[in-house]
């Protein structure tokens, strides 16, 4: 209904003007933003929030305190941003209750910005560097994470004040086919993992007859090691909603669902609030912004099944059945929920949509690589210094991501591999660090983009063990429909478990390879088809580790419990210190007659506590592989020629 065009835009502009006024007013007095997404909460953000509120009211200050989401710098959680007129906005972290008290007294009352606690300023200034002055800032190009951690996710006006819902107002004056064309020309690919072109999915759904049509936001982020969907829903839920509403308009849907994991209670709460506020402002529900387009969204909570991330399984789950995938085609875009045309997009994919509509397909294509335009959001975890979320253009290399954005490996250890794409992905070694990351190049290297989880492994991580870990995961999460996936992964898991226990047989590696090929060929859905990837890539790149386990009964990374022994080196042990004895949860450490400490091997549960506890000046506790068979005191140490650390 193009006649209503100007009216729609005017209604929106009115909303935005009011929101702007409200948002600007906030910054006229000091404003403290505390990041209270789940990651912040885990690090103690709620205590910090309470401390700020208490200190401010105790000093009777006229200052605002707001909860915000996650900026992505999880290594510095809990994070706090302080706006004070006359000063550049400053970001602090990690902040504890004590620091909070000092910031209130020294900064809010006494004008000392406490630069010693600050990480960066948010705007260029003459006193303190901004995020873009660090290597991380140079590589990062935030599109969908841009407002995360800076706006209150529970206040729609904060989103409106930052061009929020402008794209929605724009599409409502456009022909739906033109919206689809725009997304198609942007070459946006689904960020859920497989990288299917979003525009083609929308077009298929739009061109299929059948009513009503549905759009579903897939927020069933099950990949262990990935948390960007959670962060987006907790930090900027309206961005996802806007994307979903635009998708609905483009394909002609009247009902939408957000399928969220039940493990993300805070995300569910914040999305619920966002939905209510959007309805209040006329951005959702009957005749949106006064147009003749009506659409509403329901939340559906998943119940903890990894396979429900798969489109057809997700649909089965909403329909009230076990989440068992179906054969495709027909694709959900032609026959999905209740047999009707349905578009299912990931949280990240939908988050890009408003930006593409506002700034145009060409702008989006100018970022990233030719066939994978735009940015990619990675969740950095594991043995990397700066863990958290990073948004970089597609085509950035793994090396840049780990060493510049992630600031290198923890404790100056040696890099071993990076596990990318969760259980569907693979482990890439150092030689793969210079490949540019996009959908296609990762596939060539044997891994997968997946949802963007990136776990960094160092020399202390055993590659056989990590392959076993992922197989254990996929085997538990297999829905059981396909025999290859149900029994094949079980068989592979059994073999891998035997190897990590030092009972592997020489022919096991070939057997694993064969099974992997069969599971890939014989499985219906992505879960089974990609389940062997971690095993295949670890065999491909780290075959020597498999061989060490099988042939020498030794774990080179000193990780597999059955293949190591903890040992206290007498020459290094101090007679005066008892720290290890105190740290041992099972009283396996004793004092020898000569006052040196030793471990009862039969009692030791290999919990690593003594190794952590032993003071750095001694470092007397070591791990030995292959393990000492029997405790013979000093001789035992001399007998072992294996590697030790």
């Amino acid at each position: 209904m193009k006649t209503a065009g100007p009216a729609i835009v005017e209604t929106y502009q009115q909303l935005k003007r009011e929101a702007r006024k409200k948002f600007e007013a906030l910054k006229e007095k000091p404003l403290v933003l505390v990041g209270t997404a789940t990651c912040g909460r885990a690090a103690g953000a709620l205590n910090v929030l309470a401390a700020f509120r208490e200190e401010i009211s105790r000093n009777q200050l006229d200052a605002g305190v707001r909860e915000v989401g996650c900026m992505g710098h999880c290594y510095a959680e809990p994070m706090v941003i302080i706006y004070k007129p006359g000063f550049p906005p400053l970001c602090y972290g990690p902040v504890d209750e004590g620091t909070a008290g000092r910031l209130v007294v020294d900064f809010l009352i006494n004008d000392d910005p406490c630069f010693e606690f600050a990480i960066a300023a948010l705007e260029p200034n003459d006193f303190f560097p901004t995020f873009s002055d660090y290597p991380r800032g140079i590589y990062e190009n935030k599109i969908i994470l841009a407002n995360c951690g800076l706006i209150d996710p529970e206040d729609i006006d904060h989103y409106l004040a930052h061009e929020g819902y402008e794209a929605l107002a724009k599409v409502l004056t456009m022909d739906p086919a033109a919206v689809v064309a725009e997304i198609k020309s942007s070459k946006l690919r689904g960020r859920g993992g497989a990288g299917f072109p979003t525009g083609i999915k929308w077009e298929t759904c739009r061109n299929t007859s059948g009513t009503p049509k549905y759009v579903i936001c897939n927020a069933d982020e099950g990949d262990p090691g990935a948390f960007m969907d959670r962060a987006l829903l907790e930090s900027n839920p309206h961005q996802v909603l806007e994307g979903l509403i635009i998708a609905a308009y483009a394909v002609g849907a009247s009902q939408g669902y957000i399928y969220v994991r039940a493990e993300y209670p805070l995300a569910v709460t914040r999305v619920k609030t966002a939905l209510e506020q959007a309805r209040e402002r006329g951005l959702l529900g009957e005749s949106i912004l006064g147009s003749d387009f009506s659409f509403d969204i329901k939340i559906f909570q998943g119940s903890g099944a990894f396979v429900c991330g798969e489109e057809t399984a997700l649909i089965a789950s909403i329909e009230g059945s076990p989440g068992i995938p179906n054969h495709r085609p027909p694709f959900p875009a032609t026959s999905g929920l209740r047999g009707k045309p349905t578009v299912i997009n990931n949280v990240k994919t939908l988050s890009y949509v408003p930006h593409i509509i506002r700034k145009g397909a060409e702008w989006f294509r100018s970022i990233g690589t030719e066939n994978s335009p735009g940015t990619a959001v990675f969740a950095l975890a594991g043995k990397v210094n700066n863990t958290g979320l990073a948004e970089v253009p597609m085509g950035t290399t793994l090396r840049q991501l780990l060493y510049d954005v992630g600031n290198g490996i923890k404790n100056d250890k040696r890099f071993k591999a990076v596990q990318i794409g969760g259980p569907s992905g693979g482990c890439l070694p150092e030689s793969a660090l210079d490949i540019p990351i996009d959908f296609d190049s990762l596939q060539q290297a044997g891994a997968m983009m997946g949802s963007g989880g990136l776990v960094v492994l160092d020399e202390d991580d055993c590659m056989v063990e990590i392959a076993r870990f992922f197989l254990d995961f996929t085997q538990k999460e297999s829905c059981g429909k396909c025999t290859f996936c149900r029994l094949g992964t079980k068989q592979m898991l059994d073999i891998l478990t035997e190897i990590t226990r030092g009972r592997g047989r020489p022919e096991d590696i070939d057997l694993l390879w064969e099974l992997a090929e069969d599971i890939k060929a014989g499985s219906l859905c992505g879960l089974g088809k990609t389940a062997p990837n971690p095993v295949l890539t670890t065999i491909r790149y780290f075959r020597d580790e498999y061989e060490a386990h099988i042939q020498e009964g030794r774990c080179p990374a000193l990780m597999c419990k059955e293949l190591i022994t903890y040992y206290i080196v007498p020459e290094k042990c101090s007679k005066l210190c008892n720290v290890c004895i105190g740290s041992c949860p099972v009283e396996a450490i004793y004092t020898r007659p000569d006052m040196l400490k030793a471990i009862y091997l039969d009692k030791c549960v290999k919990c690593n506590s003594c190794m952590v506890a032993c003071p750095p000046q001694y470092q007397a506790v070591i791990k030995i592989s292959p393990p000492i068979v029997e405790d013979k005191g000093d001789q035992a140490h001399e007998q072992t020629s294996g590697n030790n650390r």
Binding site: C39, R41, P224, S317, G382, V455, L457, F473, P585
Partner: protein, 178 residues
Amino acid sequence: MELQPGELEMIRNEVEAVLQRYGVERENLIPILQEVQNRLGYLPKEAMQQIAENMKIPEIDVYGVGTFYNQFRLNPPGKHQIKVCMGTACHMMGGHIILDSFERRLNIKEGETTPDREFSLERVACVGCCALAPVVVVDEKVESKVSPIRVDGILLTFEIEKQKSGEEKGQEEEGSGQ
């Protein structure tokens, strides 16, 4: 599992209250099960029978859904629920050592509840706090960077709290006796 006297009636009432709020369409099955579990802490056999009857679907369908999804529990949970995260990051940072520690301290295996129903121990696939691994969710609170010593600390806190409340109870009883 044997139900205690009065428990069956309580279950029936709670389930009835949930069923009243939903239609009988199959699509409501998972939300209904979720809410029943929210209220009761688990899905008793009797509740599943009642739901099946009400929605006019075979009991096996309710049971099938209840057992397919990890979230649903068929046994009552402990007073305190301990969930050890077993995501990749947590695993590589020593999550399995933490699970071992809890198993050893509580003397139960994962998925079980202590005989006094004080603690239940579960593993979760990933709570999405990978940057702070290894992570444990105790009741609703996320504990980050957990070590075996912290495990002892967490359990000791509950122990002390229990003793305190026990003393208070004792005092109250004494007071009322006077």
